[in-house]
Symmetry: C2
Subunit: 379 residues, 2 copies
């Protein structure tokens, strides 16, 4: 007999905050979650049904973990896709599909895919090593990206001029035209096995000046309805062309000319969707479950304008985390704290986030900045 | 040094659905929760930091459990209050305070308290045994309640006439005038150690005709602003007169004459507050944490009108639970499923609830009834 989704065991590769928030949604559905993570103190550890400590990139570890699950998904891209492919071949349901994780893991394949499918993206050149980058002086200013293993701002750098060319990565990567953008936006889109597709209203991301991490996020994005429609169409086109089952965050640039260019994609719940827990009818975490377990997808309408503030470990503090200013923050209406259960802080480590709800967009922006000054993660 | 609330261990007596939803809130604050429950398959088991299987009414078990916690609270009233009193005396923070749990455990003490404090409640007579009830024919129709151990409809019965008098409980209890009420409403009120008090807008409860359990709940209650204010004042008066720290559900009758009478109170998260997870700015479960850990209390405004439907085990089915009709329900906008992780169902067992959000109160009522027909808990 076909198993109902409540009877299926869902394995997640990765036990960080994204998995943790997926589990928080899964509790409402009695869905058993198994977690594989190398860190014995992973944020998911104490709330999952089964925790396996082990490498996400080791074939045997991932394969053995997946054998005990009915459905396998990810909360981080850097996993062993060969093991996932073998599990899928043996009849396990693996979403997003292993070949797509492999494609997205490699920014070179990702960019080539956009080009091939006519998805708008910044002009780029593939480079094999530093020597090849050095030949591209005329292409500057550009962003130099490593093909693989880049994450949360690592493996990405701007090369503005000849002098900076010397910093070029000496490994397979790419050079991408530095885009003069007005805004960075993100659209999260989901698709289940039955073929339903649904997308969230776009959000506007504001990045930390040095850490290259999202610092603030505002929903909805302050763009015209024309641009909004364009962004929605592009996000849907990406998930359709990939033929992906699961959830996909599509990060895009909006240029001064009103063009929208796809920057990067992530086939999992994403930092740009954290506000959906309180701000939308269905959170991205529940949507991820719905997509990979082939449940009907949930409505994505915004219930209220929202801002999201990442709580990063304060620069200069390492060790056992202490959250300063919590009382002041949570005495305000519409302030939601999400701490990720990480015992140790270090500079710029993602320790939690705060979602703010406010009907007034101007107030939201002011309050988001204020919250960031109020709450500090120290040691 | 004074411990911050994130460093405190919170012990909860009882590991059922109420504790489970408290834990779901606690995850966002990195608060460690220890659970004591006699059932090895209790709903909290797999998501708490430490689970102790044991009796809630045994002195030694409760005392030993509480010794390892910093703060102790309850999710069910039927616990050993002597052990809690000893823990409080030894410096543990125990909220609600043990003597108040003891008072509320006994409906006779509860009613006498209302009388003494001038809190409006239905007229009553204390009775020691069946014989004393039999003498009260002139007081009929009345509700006969056991003083202790009544829960979820047990220990409560209506005695309409002389013939029914024979069913009277033969134990210390009370007879309460049968109230001709128009509505049953509930107000949840919270108070922390610092003395802050906050209450939720009143909700309207509709009870199952035979099981004596809340079947539907609607928020806000459809009453005049005058009655709403009266209900708020009474709920606040009760928590103040009790001097209770924690959360308190105050169930009240609204009579055709526009009187409000307190029916019963519960010093813990309550079925009449389940909708607050999605419908209010702060859920009752987070509010309970805030109250007992002396955090600032959270805003209680309604974000949207809501209905709540209890998912009771279908009559005629016992055994491993299966939820029918889930797909049909969750494909609707504003439908939120909460399953309690109970493996086994039996007739009228509380297996979960559904919250519905809809700006239109008439639609809400129709949709709540529809959901109840769609989702069935079978075996």
């Amino acid at each position: 007999m076909q198993k109902n989704y409540q009877q299926k065991t869902l394995g997640i590769l990765g036990g960080g905050q994204l998995g943790r928030m997926v589990i928080q949604s899964a509790i409402n559905y009695n869905i058993d979650i198994h977690i594989l993570d190398p860190d014995s103190n992973a944020p998911c550890r104490s709330i999952c049904q089964r925790f396996v400590q082990g490498s996400l990139t080791d074939f045997d570890t991932v394969y053995a973990f997946g054998r005990d699950c009915d459905v396998i998904t990810i909360e981080i891209e850097n996993v062993n896709t060969d093991a996932l492919a073998k599990l899928a071949k043996e009849g396990k349901e693996v979403y997003p599909q292993p070949h797509l994780i492999k494609l997205i893991q490699d920014k070179r394949l990702q960019k080539s895919f956009y080009q091939e499918k006519g998805i708008p993206t910044a002009e780029f050149i593939l480079t094999e090593n530093k020597e090849e980058v050095l030949l591209q002086e005329d292409f500057l200013p550009a962003v130099n990206k490593l093909g693989r293993e880049g994450y949360d701002g690592r493996g990405v750098q701007v090369l503005r001029n000849k002098e900076e060319l010397g910093k070029a990565f000496d490994a397979p990567g790419l050079l991408e035209k530095l885009i003069d953008f007005e805004k960075e936006i993100s659209v999260i889109v989901a698709r289940n096995k039955s073929g339903e597709i649904i997308s969230y209203p776009s959000v506007e991301c504001s990045f930390h000046p040095t850490a290259n991490l999202v610092e603030f996020l505002f929903a909805p994005a302050d763009i015209s309805s024309e641009l909004e429609q364009k962004a929605q169409e592009i996000a849907r086109k990406v998930i359709i062309e990939l033929d992906l089952i699961g959830i996909l965050a599509v990060e895009m640039f909006v240029t001064p000319e009103g063009e929208i260019l796809v920057n990067e994609i992530a086939p999992r719940p994403h930092n740009s969707g954290h506000h959906t827990i309180e701000a939308n009818f269905t959170s991205q975490f529940e949507q991820h479950l719905r997509a990979v377990l082939d449940m009907p997808l949930g409505n994505t309408d915004l219930r209220s304008p929202a801002a999201m503030v990442n709580l990063l470990g304060e620069d200069g503090y390492s060790g056992e985390a202490f959250v300063e200013g919590l009382d002041q923050a949570i005495s305000q209406k519409g302030v939601y704290i999400h701490l990720y259960g990480k015992k140790l802080t270090k500079p710029f480590r993602k320790m939690g986030h705060v979602t703010l709800l406010d009907e007034n967009l101007e107030h939201l922006k002011a309050r988001a900045k204020e919250i960031k000054e109020v709450i500090k993660i120290k040691a």
